[in-house]
Amino acid sequence: MNFLSGLFTPQGVASAAFVLVMAITILGALIAVAARNIFHNVLGLALSLMGVAGLFLYLNSPFVALMEILIYVGAICIAICFAIMLSEPLYLPKPPRNRLKMLGAVAGAGLTFVFLCLLIRKTQWTPAVERSTDWSITTLGHYLLTNYALIFEVISLLLLVAMLGSIVIARGGRGSS
């Protein structure tokens, strides 16, 4: 009874929504690596990225959450869908999975997981002594165009180079026209 009445306070609703978001993130990630149909993988990735955007909302950053949905779900997942359509047809039979290799992959990922968990458990996190409380998007934009203008420029240069490079590669490489 105590638990039920606790669920209907603002904190209770926020906690329940947070658990839901975490479940969506992990479930989507599992679909993204475990499903055999490559199209289901992409849909799982999109689900997981929506969950990550929800986490960013909980971390006080609505702008980054919206960018996550816009760039990852809106651009990268759709681009992957196009690549799936341009490559192998889905009706072809898939080669059987190698059980030994999967076991090795599970062992490798599991060991990394355990190691990182122990690392987090051991570390003492200390917050900065003086912390600014200015979380507004205006400040973020201001920083992006003053202190961190170089990052902004490097991002645009990187995207331009990547765009040109992908056009050159996808057209058939150097020398062909």
Partner: protein, 105 residues
């Protein structure tokens, strides 16, 4: 102490995402599935940056800008990888990494 107000929750979630992505990179053989797993790993890194930004960093703008940078790099990487996949499929008629052994000699 609420669940979503603790740094450790986000760190453990990021580790789970990282481990799932690592499993995908090690076990899958389709190049597109590999790319999807790499996106999961990059997302785990951005969750870490955002969590440290929220709970530890002196100024809240820095972590968000780094996360935006990671997103742009991921977009560039996806564009290049997808164009390589399309070119590879045109040449070999497969995108299975075990059959792309042209450089073996």
């Amino acid at each position: 102490m609420l669940l979503f107000n603790q740094l450790e929750t986000y760190l453990y979630l990021a580790i789970v995402l990282f481990a799932i992505g690592l499993y995908g990179v090690l076990a899958r053989r389709s190049l597109i599935a590999l790319l999807i797993s790499v996106e999961l790993i990059l997302n785990a890194a951005s969750i870490n940056f955002m969590a440290f930004n929220r709970f530890l960093a002196p100024h809240p703008a820095v972590g968000q800008i780094i996360t935006l940078f990671i997103m742009a790099v991921a977009a560039a990487e996806a564009a290049i990888a997808l164009s390589i996949i399309v070119a590879l499929y045109r040449k070999l008629k497969t995108i299975n990494i075990e059959q792309a052994t042209e450089l073996r000699g």
